[in-house]
Structure formats: structure tokens, C-alpha cells
């Protein structure tokens, strides 16, 4: 066991896979020489050399296109898009090309690639550098979507993503890069499509993703200590594939489901979860499904504003207390 930061876990995960498989290559803006703008890929250029670790121009379409071309010709590329907001710049390559190539070619094309990116708010970067867009990726058939919340999950899920034969969009949370956690030594490979129950409770079920997970955990503590409400906390970890079994089982146990989502209100990932539960878990519901989300606004920049736009621990607690009766 070692304590690693979330950002160190990124580099460790990439390194583990590049070491194991010569076909794994890595490209992106400022990822090599600079070790990444978030310092999440420090040491990789030194360790694996300039042939397999490449710094690119500011050319998101070319970066993703290169990953696609390389993946379909025998390599297993990891491409970085610096801020997930920039997916909008290369969305054709991701949603129209990569997501559909296997299907349109009836299985001839194989694209075992990973696109990793820094997602989420909290860094005062403003509306175009703070979005949570994992729901955009969830909505496109042909993309697997992962969003880890802890360093151990980062390393293990990144390894699983690299080994996955399908395109995986790997959403790191920029607000979590400094967070620390225990990571097992040695080779670590997790499984996509598996949620984790981090806390078991009897009254309500909170389902969260990425940076909302620690907040849900803190809210669960306060709910217990201050209000005697016992909460289960589920870290969804993957949106596609979705661990519906765990979702439905944990919802049925309490009958009360709350989603804690960082994406803006409309069509956030929680809307899909709520719909699945309403359809398949209806007779176990003891009350309406409640979504706790960022309101449907672009994210403001000022610290006081940003902090109160995305769901806070306080807002999670208040919402549950108000509606759990």
C-alpha cells in the first residue's frame, strides 16, 4: 500500500500500462516535456521516450484523429484533451468518427483507445474550463464513460480502460488532483462498469460520481449525526457500462434514491438513473427520486459563486432532510 495523490495515480496508471504493453502510446498538449498542465503525467516522457510520449500542437481534432488512426492500425493510444470543455472542439472526431467506426464497418474497425481529460469545477477557471460533460459522452452510443473519485480507482480504472478493446472516455476531476488515497502496490487493474458501495445505510441511497462522491460521504455523516438519517453512498464510477444491478439493489433497500450530479440540470446522468429506477424499481420506491444537481446555468467564475453553484455538502444534507419523510 502507498498513499498517492489522484494526479500521481494518473501517471502511475499510464506508466503501468505503457510498461506492460509496447503498443500503448500517449499524446496530448504539454503532456511530455511539461508533465501535463495539471502535473498529472510527470515522468512519462523521461521513462518511455519521445517516440511513445508525444507533445502535440494545439490541435484537438488532429490529436483525437491521430489516436483514432493509430488505434485502428494496431496501437493502443491514450490521448489527452486538456480540459473536458474542449471536447466541443473535437466532438466530430469523438462522437461521429470514433464512436461509430466499428458499427458502420460491421465490426471491421477496432479502436482500443482511451481519451483522458480533466473534468469539473472548483478551480475558478470560469464557464469554459470548468464543465462536467460526462453526460455528453454518455449520450453517444459507442463510447464507454468512466469517472473515478479516488487515486486507487484512477489507477485501476485507467488500466482497465487501456486494456478495454473499445473507446473509453476517462474523466478525471481537476478538483480531485490534489486529493490523496491509499493505492495498493503492484499491478492494479479494476473493472469498468462496476459501482462501489462506500457506505451502507438504511434510510436513503445517495448515488454520486467523481467530486460529488466525497461530498455525498460527508453529507451522509452529517445526516446520521445531526438528523438520524442513515444513508447509503454509491460511487457509480462508470456511466457506460452502467452498473444497474447495484443501482437497483441499493435503491430497493431504502426505497429512496438521491442523485448527486455536477453536470447542469437538464439531461444530467442522474436523469437516466432516475428513469431506470422509476421503470424497474417502482414498486420498491418509498418516495420520489430526487436529483441534486448544479442548476441549469453556465458556471460562474468568482469563488463564492462557483462554490455555491455546484452541489455543496450543505445542500445535499438540506435536500435529503427536507424530502426524506
Amino acid at each position: 500500500m502507498a498513499e498517492l495523490s489522484y494526479r500521481e495515480a494518473v501517471a502511475a496508471g499510464i506508466a503501468q500500462e505503457m510498461e506492460r504493453d509496447q503498443r500503448v502510446v500517449f499524446l496530448g498538449e504539454d503532456v511530455g516535456g511539461a508533465g501535463g498542465v495539471f502535473k498529472s503525467t510527470v515522468g512519462l516522457l523521461e521513462r518511455f521516450g519521445p517516440v511513445r510520449v508525444r507533445d502535440t500542437p494545439i490541435s484537438e481534432q488532429a490529436i483525437i484523429g491521430a489516436a483514432m488512426g493509430a488505434a485502428m492500425t494496431g496501437l493502443r493510444p491514450i490521448a489527452e484533451i486538456m480540459f473536458s470543455d474542449f471536447f466541443a472542439v473535437c466532438w466530430d472526431m469523438i462522437a461521429n468518427e470514433i464512436a461509430k467506426a466499428r458499427y458502420m464497418s460491421a465490426g471491421q474497425m477496432s479502436l482500443p483507445l482511451v481519451i483522458r481529460t480533466a473534468n469539473g469545477a472548483g478551480s475558478r477557471f470560469g464557464a469554459q474550463h470548468s464543465q462536467s460533460v460526462e453526460n455528453w459522452a454518455m449520450a453517444v452510443p459507442g463510447l464507454k464513460v468512466v469517472a473515478p473519485s479516488t487515486p486507487a480507482d484512477v489507477k485501476g480504472l485507467l488500466a482497465a480502460a487501456v486494456r478495454d478493446p473499445d473507446p473509453v472516455i476517462f474523466f478525471e476531476h481537476k478538483g480531485l488532483y490534489a486529493s490523496k488515497g491509499e493505492v495498493p502496490d503492484g499491478e492494479l487493474v479494476d473493472r469498468l462498469g462496476t459501482a462501489k458501495v462506500l457506505r451502507q445505510g438504511g434510510d436513503v441511497t445517495l448515488v454520486a460520481l467523481a467530486a460529488m462522491v466525497p461530498r455525498a460521504l460527508q453529507a451522509a455523516s452529517r445526516l446520521q449525526d445531526e438528523h438520524g438519517i442513515s444513508a447509503t453512498v454509491v460511487d457509480l464510477r462508470s456511466l457506460v457500462p452502467l452498473d444497474t444491478r447495484t443501482l437497483l439493489a441499493e435503491t430497493a433497500k431504502t426505497g429512496r434514491l438521491y442523485t448527486v450530479e455536477e453536470n447542469p440540470r437538464l439531461c444530467g446522468w442522474g436523469a437516466e438513473i432516475a428513469s431506470i429506477v422509476a421503470e424497474e424499481c417502482f414498486y420498491d420506491l418509498d418516495g420520489p427520486v430526487v436529483r441534486i444537481t448544479t442548476p441549469h446555468v453556465p458556471l460562474p467564475a468568482a469563488d463564492a459563486l462557483e462554490d455555491n453553484t455546484v452541489p455543496t455538502v450543505e445542500r445535499i444534507v438540506r435536500t435529503v432532510v427536507r424530502t426524506a419523510g
Binding site: 434510510d203 426505497g255 417502482f282 414498486y283 420498491d284 420506491l285 418509498d286 418516495g287 419523510g325
Partner: protein
């Protein structure tokens, strides 16, 4: 809730609202003067029937309305209430409904601890747990639910106060079976509706069995409100009543009985459904018993039980034939009439069951 024009005098049919004492949106307390009314007999002020907020005034000053018509609405917290507040049953969540059905519980038996007195999943589960609480020695203490308690009290009272006499007669259900077979499969056409129809007819000739005992007199009821005993398993008995059973053709009677029994099993009976019975039938034959001595439901004076109808050898003329035979047993209140009367009633019942053209009776009333 609605505020209506009150009845201000025996012959007063209408009144005129002369002045409103409160404005829409204002808080009113129960008993506080709400409006002034003028009739041809009297002028007076009318108090608010409940506390709340005056959410709407439907009739302006100077308007004359009939007694009983709506004048205004009073609501909670400024919310206009266009419909009566939902009964507790209607706020049951999906899992609560499911658990109630699974455990055979009645929502009315459970105290809700959720918001606004809502019954939560936990409340139902706790209720189930309490019932299972074990006494020392491994014995189980099952506390009686409200329905069971009520049944218990009623049975004890009846047994204590009514001198029961049991009389029975064997009946050949051959004619009924023929009509049922000809009609085809139907969940509604058990023996019960045929028996009910026969009872209504027999009562026409023996009206005393359809009476209420009232201390020193017997009130002979003109209309037959037929109680149908329904077994709710661990929770006891309930007896929904088919009102005016004698006026219904067989088909409709069958439908009415079926629907009442369904409602009873789903615990959806209203208070109106279980009152004013004048005679009761109990169909006890499910488990193959031969005879049951039922307990009369006061203030009724008799109750009839039909046990199992089974194929038996029967003498017909000089031959032995196989017929579906069941025992009809009536318990009667010996204060109301005697054995001969009861026996004659039973004999008439037997005649009707055995001799009616039941297929024709089924067809009756169908346009």
C-alpha cells in the same frame, strides 16, 4: 374545505349573502364570523366552519343561493384546495402498498411517522416486526389487529346475548350446476350468487328472517341488504353488504357480490359498505366441511351458512343418482321466531334452489 349555505330554519330553502366579513387570502379561525346572511325568517351572522385561509369567495354579496350550495373555500397555508384532501390511503407509496398487500395489513391499522403523517416503508416493516415479537419460551405473541379485535368483540356480544338455534337441510345443487356449465366459466358465478338470489326470494315468503331485533320489538325490514361474510385470513372477518339485493336480477347480484368481495380482500371497503345488513350469508365450504353453525350479527336475527357442495349418492324416485349436495345451515335468534318458521324457510330455500330455471334467471335483465 367548502363553506356552504347552512340550513337556517326548517322551511328555509335559500338565503342571501348580505356581507362578507373576511377577504380572500385572510386567515379565519373556526367559529369566527365569516359572513352575514338574510332569509325570509331571520338575519344572522354565520361562523367559519374551520380554521384556515379564505382561499376563494364563490358568491358575491347580494346573491341568493339555495341551502347547501357552496359559497366559499377555506384552505391550508394559502393553498387553494379544489378537491377534498386526499385520504391517508391515497398517499401510500408503491413500496408501502406492496408491503401491505404482502403481509395482509390494512393501512388504517398503521400509524404513519413520515411527513404529514405519511405511512413510510419503515412504519410498515416495524408493524410487521411488532406482530412477530416473541414471548419467552418460544411462544409467539400475535397482537390482534383492529379488524380481528372488532370481530372478536362482536362475536362475543352476539353469543352472549342471542339464543342461537341451528337448523340444517341438505340441498341438491344439480340445477344450479347445469346453469353454470351452460353459461361457461366465470369467476363471478360461484354458488354464492345463486344462493343469494334464492334467499331473497324465500325471504319474500318468510319476511321475519329479514328483521332486526330491537329490545321488545322486531322491525321487519322491507328491503333485503344482504351481508356476505368474507374471510380476511389472519385479520378476521368482514361482512360487506349488497344493498337492495332482492331488487337485482341474478346477473347483477353476482357482479355486485364479486366486486364487494374483491374490495374487501383489497382492504378498500368504505364504512358505507359494511353497514345496514339485514341478513347474512356465509360460504364456508372452501375446505370441504360438512356443516357450520354460524354466529348471528346483531341486530340481525339469522345467518345462513353453505358448506362444501360435493358429489353424493342421492335417492331420486326409486334410483340412486349422483348429485352435487351441500348442507345449508341457518342459525336463528329464538327470540324472533321458532323452529317451525325457520324450518319452513329452509324448505322453501331448498325448493327454490332445486327447482328454479337458473339459466333463465341468468338471462334475465339482459336487454
Amino acid at each position: 374545505m367548502q363553506v356552504i349555505m347552512p340550513q337556517l330554519g326548517e322551511t328555509v330553502a335559500e338565503g342571501t349573502v348580505t356581507a362578507w366579513r373576511k377577504k380572500v387570502g385572510e386567515r379565519v379561525e373556526a367559529g369566527e364570523a365569516l359572513f352575514d346572511v338574510s332569509t325570509d325568517k331571520v338575519e344572522t351572522e354565520v361562523p367559519a366552519p374551520a380554521s384556515g385561509v379564505l382561499t376563494a369567495i364563490l358568491v358575491s354579496e347580494g346573491t341568493t343561493v339555495k341551502v347547501g350550495e357552496a359559497l366559499a373555500t377555506i384552505g391550508e397555508h394559502g393553498q387553494p384546495q379544489s378537491a377534498p384532501p386526499a385520504a391517508a390511503e391515497e398517499r401510500l407509496s408503491p413500496v408501502v402498498r406492496k408491503l401491505l398487500a404482502e403481509h395482509g395489513l390494512d393501512a388504517r391499522e398503521i400509524t404513519g411517522t413520515g411527513a404529514e403523517g405519511r405511512i413510510t416503508r419503515r412504519d410498515v416493516l416495524d408493524s410487521v416486526e411488532r406482530r412477530k415479537a416473541t414471548a419467552p419460551g418460544g411462544d409467539e405473541r400475535l397482537s390482534l389487529g383492529p379488524i380481528r379485535k372488532r370481530t372478536a368483540e362482536q362475536m362475543a356480544l352476539s353469543w352472549r346475548t342471542i339464543p342461537h338455534v341451528l337448523q340444517a337441510v341438505e340441498v341438491d345443487f344439480h340445477a344450479v350446476d347445469a346453469a353454470r356449465a351452460a353459461h361457461g366459466k366465470s369467476a363471478e358465478l360461484t354458488y354464492l350468487p345463486f344462493l343469494a338470489r334464492a334467499v331473497c326470494e324465500a325471504i319474500a315468503s318468510f319476511p321475519l328472517v329479514n328483521a332486526s331485533f330491537d329490545g321488545d320489538s322486531l322491525v321487519v325490514r322491507r328491503r333485503v341488504h344482504l351481508g356476505i361474510a368474507v374471510d380476511l385470513g389472519a385479520d378476521g372477518l368482514i361482512v360487506p353488504v349488497v344493498k337492495d339485493a332482492a331488487a337485482k336480477p341474478l346477473r347483477d347480484l353476482a357482479g355486485a357480490i364479486h366486486s364487494l368481495v374483491q374490495k374487501a380482500r383489497a382492504r378498500k371497503l368504505r364504512p358505507d359498505d359494511v353497514t345496514e345488513g339485514t341478513y347474512t350469508i356465509s360460504n364456508s365450504g372452501r375446505f370441504g366441511t360438512f356443516l357450520t353453525a354460524p354466529i348471528i350479527l346483531p341486530p340481525q336475527v339469522a345467518i345462513l351458512s353453505l358448506d362444501a357442495v360435493a358429489k353424493k349418492p342421492v335417492v331420486s324416485g326409486e334410483d340412486i343418482v349422483v348429485r352435487p349436495v351441500g348442507v345449508l345451515a341457518q342459525s336463528f335468534d329464538h327470540r324472533a321466531f321458532d323452529g317451525a318458521y325457520s324450518a319452513a324457510f329452509l324448505h322453501r330455500l331448498k325448493e327454490i334452489i332445486e327447482g328454479t330455471d337458473w339459466s333463465a334467471a341468468l338471462a334475465e335483465g339482459r336487454g
